[in-house]
C-alpha cells in the first residue's frame, strides 16, 4: 500500500492526520468498548446508570488507581477446572472453547485446504488453456455467487434431510465442509486465475521445452511461484469459514457439531445481562483471526483486491 510513497517527499498536513485519527478512533471504539467491558466486574456491569470505566470511588468521579478490573468474564467463558489427567493439569470446560471452537477449526482448515486445491487446479486450467466454453464457464462461476446463501440453504437443508433418510453414510461435519467449499470456491477460482495470469507464459514454455510434462511444469515451475497467492486464498477462506454463521446454524442438526459462531449466538441468550461474559467470548473468538490478519496483512489485501476487481 504505502511502499511506493517512500521515495517522494511526504506531504504531511495536520488536518489530514487529525481526520484520520478521528476515523481510526471511531472504527476502534466498539472494539475498545468490548475489551473494557470484558474486564469489568459483574457489579460494575450491572450498575445504573452504566459507566464507561469502572474507575470511580465514593468520593471521586475518576481515580486511575481505584479502577476495578477482573477476569470474571474470561473465567466464565473458559470455566477452567483442575484435572490431574490432562497434560496441562487443567481442563477447559466451557462449551464455546471445548466443543464449538474445535468444530470450527476442523471446518476452517479442511475447507480451506480443499478450496486451495480445487481453485489452483481450475484456476490453472482457466489461465493456461484455451477451450470451448471457457468464457461461459468463467461467467457462470461468477454468476453463481449471485445466488444468495439463504436461497441455497433451502435446497441444501432438503438435500441433507434426503441423504440422512436414504441411509447413505451421512455426517453433518463432512456435509458442512463440502457446503463451505462450494460457498467460497467461486471467488477463489477467479483469484487463483488472476495469480496464474500474473506468471509469464514463457516460464511454462521453457519448462515444456526442457522436457517437462504439463503436470510437471505446473508442479515444479508454476506452483512454487503461486505459493503466495495460494496462501492468500487459504487465509481468506479460513477467515470466511471461521466467521460463517448461517450455514452452520441451519444445516447441522446435532448441536455438538455446530461451529463457534453458533456458540457465540447462543451465549447471547444465556448471558442476557452478563456483558462481561459476552465481551470476553467475542474477544477470545476474534483474537485468532485478528492475529492472522496482522501477520499476513499483505496477503489479505492482495487477495481482496484481486477478488474485488474481478468479481
Amino acid at each position: 500500500m504505502a511502499e511506493k510513497s517512500g521515495r517522494s517527499p511526504r506531504k504531511n498536513h495536520w488536518l489530514i492526520h487529525c481526520v484520520l485519527i478521528l476515523i481510526c478512533l471511531g472504527m476502534m471504539f466498539p472494539i475498545v468498548i468490548a475489551i473494557i467491558e470484558s474486564f469489568k466486574l459483574p457489579q460494575d456491569i450491572q450498575r445504573n446508570p452504566p459507566t464507561l470505566l469502572p474507575c470511580d470511588t465514593p468520593t471521586q468521579a475518576f481515580n486511575l488507581g481505584a479502577c476495578r478490573w477482573s477476569i470474571n468474564g474470561y473465567q466464565r467463558v473458559l470455566s477452567i477446572e483442575p484435572d490431574a489427567k490432562s497434560p496441562f493439569g487443567f481442563d477447559i470446560k466451557g462449551t464455546l472453547i471445548s466443543v464449538y471452537l474445535g468444530n470450527t477449526l476442523l471446518y476452517a482448515v479442511s475447507a480451506s485446504i480443499l478450496v486451495v486445491l480445487l481453485a489452483a487446479a481450475s484456476g490453472y486450467a482457466f489461465s493456461r488453456f484455451n477451450f470451448r466454453g471457457k468464457r461461459a464457464m468463467m461467467t457462470a462461476i461468477i454468476a453463481i455467487t449471485g445466488v444468495p446463501l439463504l436461497t441455497n440453504l433451502l435446497g441444501l437443508y432438503q438435500m441433507g434431510v434426503v441423504i440422512r433418510k436414504s441411509g447413505f453414510p451421512y455426517d453433518d461435519r463432512a456435509f458442512l465442509i463440502i457446503v463451505y467449499v462450494g460457498m467460497f470456491l467461486p471467488l477463489s477460482v477467479w483469484i487463483a486465475k488472476g495469480f496464474f495470469d500474473a506468471i509469464p507464459r514463457d516460464l511454462d514454455d521453457a519448462a515444456l521445452i526442457d522436457g517437462c510434462s504439463r503436470m510437471g511444469a505446473l508442479f515444479r515451475v508454476i506452483m512454487p511461484l503461486t505459493v503466495p497467492g495460494l496462501v492468500a486464498i487459504f487465509l481468506l477462506t479460513f477467515v470466511n469459514v471461521w466467521n460463517e454463521f448461517l450455514a452452520g446454524y441451519l444445516l447441522v442438526s446435532q448441536n455438538q457439531y455446530k461451529p463457534v459462531m453458533y456458540g457465540l449466538y447462543n451465549f447471547l441468550g444465556e448471558n442476557l445481562i452478563n456483558l462481561q461474559v459476552i465481551g470476553a467470548a467475542c474477544i477470545l473468538i476474534s483474537l485468532p483471526v485478528i492475529v492472522l490478519f496482522l501477520f499476513f496483512r499483505r496477503s489479505f489485501f492482495e487477495a481482496m483486491v484481486e477478488g474485488a476487481i474481478k468479481g
Binding site: 500500500m1 511506493k4 510513497s5 517522494s8 511526504r10 489530514i16 492526520h17 484520520l20 476515523i23 476502534m28 466498539p30 472494539i31 468498548i33 467491558e37 446508570p49 452504566p50 480445487l118 487446479a121 481450475s122 486450467a125 488453456f129 477451450f131 461468477i142 454468476a143 453463481i144 449471485g146 446463501l149 439463504l150 436461497t151 441455497n152 433451502l154 435446497g155 441444501l156 438435500m159 463440502i178 462450494g182 460457498m183 470456491l185 517437462c212 510434462s213 503436470m215 505446473l218 508442479f219 471461521w242 466467521n243 459462531m261 457465540l264 449466538y265 456483558l275 459476552i278 467475542c282 483471526v289 490478519f293 496483512r297 489479505f300 489485501f301 483486491v305 474485488a308 476487481i309 468479481g311
Partner: protein, 317 residues
C-alpha cells in the same frame, strides 16, 4: 509431489489425455459447484412453484409469489430494505472515499492507519452485531447511560433497541428510519467500510499523478480536481463498489441475528431477515423460495452490472 517429480521421466501420456487435461482440472470444481450452488438453486425454483397440500405436492404456478407480495409484511420489508440499502451504501461510499483519499495523500503512518482501519473487516457479522449490542443494550449498555438520559434526548431518553419508529413523512414509507434500523446501518457500514476503502484506494492509486497535477496547474482546487478529474476516472470502481455493497446488504443476515433479531416489532426486518423468518421461523418453504428467487434475480442483475462495469474498467485501463 512424489508422483509429479517422477512424471517427466515417464512415457508421455496419450494424446487424448493431454487434450483433456483442462477438463480433468476443472471437473472437481464443477461437481462441487453443481452440488452446492446449482442444484439447490434449481430446487428453489421448483419449490417456489409448488405448495404442500394434504394430497402431496401440487403445482400452483405463481401463486406463492402473488400471495407473498400481497402480505403487508412484504410491503413493509421492501420499504425498509430500500431505506436500509440507500443509507448504507451512501454512508459507506462517502466515508470510504474520504478515508481512501486521505490515505492516498502520501503521508506518514499509512501502514498504522490501514491496519487499525481494517480490523473490523476480519470480525464476523455475529461478533460485530454483539459488539454494537454491548453499546446500546437497554439499561446496561455503555452508551445507554447517555442515550436514555432524558436531559440529553428529551422527552424520555432514547432506548435504541426498543424505541418505536418515528412517524413516516410520506404515507407508510419507513422514512425517517427507526433508531434500531439506524443502528443496524451504522454497524453494517462499520464492517463494510474497510473493504470499500481498499477498493477505492487501489483505484485512486492507479490514477496517474500527472493527470491530477496538470489539473492543479490549470487552476483547479482540490475539490474540483476530485469532482471533475478523479471521480470520472474512478467511475467503474465506484459502480463496482455500489453493486458489491448492495449485494452484501441484500444478503447479509448474521448482523441482524445478534444485533436486533428483526425487532423491535418488525422494524429491522429487511429482505434477507424476512426470508429467514418465513422459511425457518414460520416454516413456509414455498413462500421463502419465492422470496429467495426474487432476491436471487436482483443479485444476478447486480452481478451482471458489476461484470459490465469491470469490463469497462479493463477497456479503460
Amino acid at each position: 509431489m512424489e508422483q509429479a517429480r517422477r512424471l517427466p521421466l515417464q512415457k508421455k501420456p496419450p494424446q487424448w489425455l493431454r487434450n483433456s487435461l483442462p477438463f480433468w482440472l476443472i471437473l472437481p470444481t464443477a461437481i462441487v459447484l453443481f452440488a452446492i450452488q446449482v442444484y439447490p438453486f434449481l430446487y428453489t425454483i421448483w419449490l417456489s412453484l409448488e405448495q404442500r397440500k394434504p394430497t402431496g405436492w401440487v403445482f400452483v404456478g405463481l401463486k406463492n409469489f402473488t400471495q407473498l407480495f400481497a402480505t403487508t409484511l412484504f410491503g413493509e420489508s421492501a420499504g425498509l430494505t430500500v431505506v436500509f440499502l440507500v443509507l448504507f451504501v451512501a454512508l459507506t461510499l462517502g466515508t470510504g472515499f474520504l478515508i481512501a483519499y486521505l490515505l492516498s495523500r502520501n503521508i506518514s503512518f499509512t501502514g498504522l492507519y490501514t491496519t487499525l482501519l481494517f480490523i473490523p473487516w476480519v470480525l464476523s457479522d455475529i461478533i460485530s452485531g454483539e459488539v454494537f449490542r454491548l453499546l446500546v443494550l437497554p439499561s446496561y449498555g455503555v452508551l445507554s447511560g447517555y442515550l436514555q438520559n432524558p436531559k440529553i434526548f428529551p422527552p424520555h431518553g432514547l432506548s435504541v433497541l426498543t424505541a418505536p419508529p418515528p412517524n413516516p413523512w410520506i404515507g407508510s414509507f419507513p422514512f425517517p428510519p427507526s433508531p434500531a434500523l439506524v443502528l443496524l446501518i451504522l454497524a453494517t457500514t462499520w464492517r463494510a467500510l474497510p473493504f470499500i476503502t481498499l477498493l477505492l484506494l487501489a483505484s485512486i492509486q492507479m490514477i496517474p499523478k500527472e493527470v491530477i497535477e496538470s489539473a492543479r496547474i490549470d487552476g483547479a482546487n482540490s475539490l474540483q480536481a476530485i469532482w471533475y478529474i478523479m471521480l470520472p476516472i474512478m467511475r467503474p470502481t465506484v459502480v463496482v463498489a455500489i453493486f458489491s455493497l448492495t449485494l452484501s446488504g441484500m444478503n447479509g443476515v448474521g448482523m441482524i441475528f445478534s444485533l436486533t433479531g428483526g425487532g423491535p416489532g418488525t422494524e429491522t426486518e429487511i429482505m434477507p431477515w424476512l426470508l429467514y423468518s418465513i422459511g425457518w421461523l414460520q416454516v413456509n418453504f414455498n413462500w421463502a423460495a419465492a422470496l429467495a428467487l426474487l432476491i436471487g434475480v436482483i443479485n444476478l442483475l447486480l452481478i451482471i452490472g458489476t461484470l459490465r462495469a469491470t469490463r469497462l474498467e479493463e477497456a479503460n485501463g
